[in-house]
Symmetry: C2
Subunit: 718 residues, 2 copies
């Protein structure tokens, strides 16, 4: 119980830090009246969007809550609701601080770069640390309540409902936010930059506020909910697998570690929070030169300190929690004490996360060849820009997927038991895989901060332009923003990598849950049917593999349609509002925000339903083996397509920026026009469709896990 206290207290300490950071941000000056006005418009737009989204969400949550209550148990409903509400809350807090920090960042950066960096970064930290703190507090709380009210077996079956709640909110936030932000962005660019030839963030563009709002609802609230879900899922997966591997083990020495194995994930998460908070204090620059390298180093310093701290302290914690295990298992290769294997498994995830981040940076930063190649291809027009970008996106799947494959194998073989009983050893190995997931996400508090700060800087730039601040202010915000693009790409690689590991962990947890339900029903374990020669598994793999493609198709079309309405609205305003293009009158910004909001709400229904219904449908019709096939297929292609789309999008964006920096004729050249086409195609790739896949694969696995017993009892084929 002491260890549970520790993780809960880490969460509380995290929230205290959030309080201080919030006060720090809010005490900054908001700048002149014009800046306040713009910031207020963005704030109002964001809140208008949220309130409408929350209405849809509330309905959805109530319906699902009732279904859970009827078919599973009222505790399931409760866990689901708490998960959903905490996820909503972390999105809300993050966005609230984000929209409060934009004008303040613009003002701070006019003093000096370090000041701007700190304001933007601390507002990002509010988001990052809120997510992890509420995550750990929530899971710890639910674990505590359920295990004290119910028997352990029932409690463990119900905990995933918490993750289901978080996933549902994440789905709406990510998909809806993604559609909003890109319909506004693409729409604004298409008529603004391409047709009318006015610069980005020009106040004459009626869609400009909607675009700024989009940064907040998509990149902050959406990303936050996405990672909240990953984080929670990555803690819950090892808890349920620890239950199956240790708590229910037939070997006494293994069983003795049952409770510890379930608490360990919470403890590692708690350590991660403390180290992340510690790391934030090291993010500062002394020079006032807006150099990419200096800024990047500042952020990296914080992340590295957090990562190394987490690794070291986790080693000690693991030794205390899992170390009194006397059987001479693992580490298999290194012949060290057992707990070392568990530690290495966690470390494998942490390292894999870093490698994926570096690879993403390589493929999307204008410092390296791939992005420059796209810029080079822009010279022969838009078509070659697109072809080249697709090629880069596809190629960029290589390193992340090989890294995840190796991490998976390493975690399994390093953690795998050596009791002599193949089944027990296997399950401990699987537990290792699930710990790799939490290893990757342990420092999420600070990595998410480096990510969420980007949109704040982006917004600050928008405000600087619209409020006509001196050009050096925009230069500095651009430097912050450009760095934000890199950290955003890194963050996305990280989000999808962790989503794959988490979804995999949840799928394995589903298999264990299905096996418990099968044992009750007198059926043989599903595990024996999960071979690749089983036609049901193959059919599941095929259909599951297809779902991310279908899902992306829906979200891409959604952005297309919503952007199309936006284009028409902007054209209408320019046509009908006199004096707009001359800057004499103000456009109707709110109407554009409205259009994006309505578009996002309408368009997210089908993909959202798909994610919930597909696993249930296949589970009931073709059975649990086909369902595992479905989940695995979706994880594999979801990972691949997400990485491809995110990196292609990031690379197109930066290739355009590279040209704007003066290459191949610079702004206004033919190459630049082609670059803009690439960037526009990349927008929904990297900010709507790609990242939404994270949620798809996690949500489908969590739906399977929550409904595992019901599926096994009612499936047509087994």
């Amino acid at each position: 119980m002491n260890w549970l206290m520790f993780s809960g207290m880490s969460g509380v300490l995290g929230l205290i830090f959030v309080g201080f950071a919030t006060v720090y941000v809010l005490r900054q000056s908001t700048g002149n009246a014009r800046m306040v006005e713009i910031s207020q418009a963005i704030h109002d737009g964001a809140m208008a969007y949220l309130s409408r989204q929350y209405k849809v969400l509330t309905l959805f949550i109530i319906v699902v809550g009732i279904i859970l209550g009827l078919f599973i148990s009222s505790y399931s409903s409760l866990a689901f609701l708490v998960g959903a509400i905490l996820s909503l809350l972390s999105g809300f807090i993050g966005m609230k601080i984000g929209v409060s920090a934009n004008a303040r960042t613009a003002e701070a950066v006019s003093n000096n770069l370090n000041h701007g960096l700190r304001v933007a970064f601390f507002s990002g930290s509010v988001m990052g640390v809120t997510v992890v703190s509420l995550g750990v507090i929530g899971v710890t709380g639910i674990y505590f309540i359920l295990t004290s009210k119910l028997d352990m077996f029932t409690a463990i079956q119900i905990i995933p409902a918490f993750s289901f709640g978080a996933s549902s909110v994440a789905l709406f936030a990510r998909v809806g936010g993604g559609i909003f932000t890109k319909s506004a962005d693409v729409g604004a660019d298409l008529v603004g930059k391409v047709e009318a030839g006015i610069p980005e963030d020009d106040p004459r563009n009626p869609a400009v506020i909607a675009d700024n709002v989009g940064d907040n609802v998509g990149d902050i609230a959406g990303m936050g909910a996405d990672l909240y879900e990953s984080y929670v899922g990555s803690i819950i997966a090892p808890i349920t697998i620890g239950f199956a591997a240790f708590y229910m083990s037939s070997a006494e020495s293994v069983k003795a570690l049952g409770l510890n194995s379930m608490i360990l994930p919470l403890v590692i998460a708690g350590i991660g929070i403390l180290c992340s908070v510690f790391g934030t204090f090291f993010v500062r620059v002394s020079s006032d030169k807006a150099e990419q390298g200096v800024l990047l180093m500042a952020l990296r310093r914080g992340v590295w300190i957090a990562a190394i701290g987490t690794a070291l302290i986790s080693l000690i914690a693991i030794k205390y929690i899992m170390g009194d295990w006397e059987i001479p298992w693992v580490s298999y290769i290194l012949k060290e004490q057992g707990y070392v294997g568990i530690f290495y498994a966690t470390l494998a995830g942490l390292i894999a996360g870093i490698i994926i981040g570096v690879a993403t940076e390589y493929y999307t930063s204008q410092e390296y060849q791939p992005t420059r190649d796209i810029a080079d291809a822009s010279q022969t027009g838009a078509a070659t820009t697109i072809i080249r970008g697709m090629a880069v996106g596809m190629q960029s799947t290589g390193i992340p997927i090989i890294t995840v494959a190796i991490a998976l194998l390493a975690a399994y073989y390093l953690a795998r038991g050596n009791t002599g009983d193949a089944r027990i050893d296997f399950l401990i190995g699987i537990y290792g895989i699930s710990l790799a997931g939490i290893g990757m996400l342990s420092t999420l508090g600070i990595t998410l901060a480096t990510d969420a700060y980007g949109p704040v800087a982006d917004n600050a730039g928008g405000i600087a332009t619209q409020a006509q601040l001196p050009p050096e202010v925009r230069e500095r915000t651009d430097a912050l923003d450009s760095l934000g693009n890199t950290t955003a790409a890194t963050g996305k690689g990280f989000a999808i990598g962790s989503a794959a590991l988490t979804a995999l962990g949840l799928t394995i947890a589903f298999i264990q849950a299905a096996d418990f339900a099968r044992a009750k029903a007198g059926l043989p374990p599903v595990e024996t049917s999960l071979t690749l020669t089983n036609p049901l598994v193959l059919a599941g793999l095929f259909i599951g593999g297809m779902l991310p493609f279908l899902f992306c198709s829906f979200t891409l079309q959604a952005v297309g349609r919503a952007a199309y309405s936006m284009v028409n609205e902007v054209r209408r305003q320019w046509r009908e509002i006199p004096g707009l293009m001359e800057g004499k009158t103000k456009p109707d910004y709110a109407r554009c925000v409205d259009i994006a909001t309505i578009g996002a709400q309408k368009e997210m229904i089908i993909p959202a339903m798909m994610a919930v219904i597909a696993p249930l449908l296949i589970g009931f019709l073709l059975g649990d083996a086909a369902l595992v096939g479905l989940l695995t297929g979706a994880i594999v292609t979801g990972f691949l397509v997400a990485v491809m789309m995110a990196n292609a999008g990031g690379a197109w964006d930066n290739a355009k920026k590279y040209i704007e920096g003066g290459a191949y004729g610079g702004k206004g050249s033919e190459a630049h026009k082609a670059g803009v086409v690439g960037d526009t195609v990349g927008d929904p790739f990297k900010d709507t469709s790609g990242p939404s896949l994270n949620i798809l694969i996690k949500l489908m696995s969590i739906v399977a896990l929550v409904f595992a017993a019901l599926i096994v009892q009612n499936m047509l084929i087994h």
Copy 2:
């Protein structure tokens, strides 16, 4: 032995038909001197390409032949060489007739449409029937030789080497041809249509002959080799699975059908040849109006007659060959006699092929909504055209993949044995899946004819324009060509669907082969390790799933680079050759052909090596279970990405044609410019990267199968 005679004779009869069809085509008039000259230039270009490609190929074949001889057996070398040579031969014959028929089609079409259709279609038939005849003769011959020289077990292990030979040639032909054709096409379009604003096939464009050559080397020779490989693979997979399921069965009544089960695939293929030839005689139109509907109906009539004939005769043959089986197995649901289940499994494949064809048509024809939506999106520029096209491509994966999944399940459950021994029943079900593959390809003779006729018509149009024939000739060739686009898209859907089933069959054959090798080595069967919870399988799935992305990245970049050289060469010629743009002097066509040839040769090496090395590397390093994971992952994503790219490309192409037909401002409008960008992006999608994936997945499975024993004996992990 009678049945073997039958299949061999069907092949010979097919070749006799090919002889007559060739004579028919060659007896047509070649038109005026200018037409002969152009046709000759295309012919020379194609031969120059082939001779260079064959040099690379010969080297590759000799090296692999020696490796096979050293590590497996000299019979393996032999089978490999025969497979490779027959594949080369069918590509060569198809292309030779293709380049001979183009001017003749142009001339015939100036008489009347029916005449043109018949010349183009009969030249396509030469290709189609040659492929199937040489396929059946080759496999029958190798089967006969090996089974009479060696014991059955050894013979069956060696037969796949024939397929390996065919695959190797197919890889070079498809990838090399795809790179050639699209670098020429994209290059010609980028400088011609987009930059200089001259029409397609304008003789002032130095890349025009290279473009015409490309139609032949990519769409005829490449497609032919691709389908030769699928066809051969789809026959060999059920032979090897029949061996494991029946010949090696422990149940006497099942074992008694051993030889029959292995001969059945050859017999079905033979029936398909005869029916295909029969069907070709029904392809004719009476009216002279170039209506799409009438032409399409003419082609469909032939295909349908062949399909129905094949189905009916196969039912009779299956009753004779598999019918004297007295145990009351299958058809499981229908409670009919055993052979009916086998028949239904075959039929499932045939029907699945038709459904995939229809779905492909829906997504790529300008008659339907998806393509029109892309045209609609062109109004807001190139970016929305691309986004919409990607969405259509992704969405179009739905029906084909669900169809394949259902066909897979249907074939398995309908064919599955009912002996009471789960293992025997399972293997018979798997045999059913492999028969679905051959069912889909049984009428390849005529479906490939409808496909290969397209490039001939396309070339005829090119010649008509370059030789300045009257406009109604070009109109008629355009009608033939436009139909060709639809049949080409259908053919591609068909090619990838059959590739997926074939590769799946070969993968299952690999599992059986690995199990035989494991039994010899005293290891437990690999099948028990193939569960989705095995980290090795998961790692294999991830890496395998990634390979198609990496492969596409290479081929896309290859086209980009080669097209780039082409653009520069065309610009150089326009700059340096005086009087070219005024039409006073002739460009240096041969130099452009050369550039495309060199580009294709250079660029195909890495992807080709990847396909051969990846399965061996994973097999030796991570073992056969990981290798099965790799193959399965590659099949799933390969199928998905191939369908997505082929259909997106087809839809972009036809969306552009739809605009050119007058929609949204027609030719020269902004929408048209955007449409051209979409079409250009789609070119390598649909003609290089997408179709090459067929080969990738088949070749990897066949490599695994050929080296199965070697891998099992030498793998590091098991």
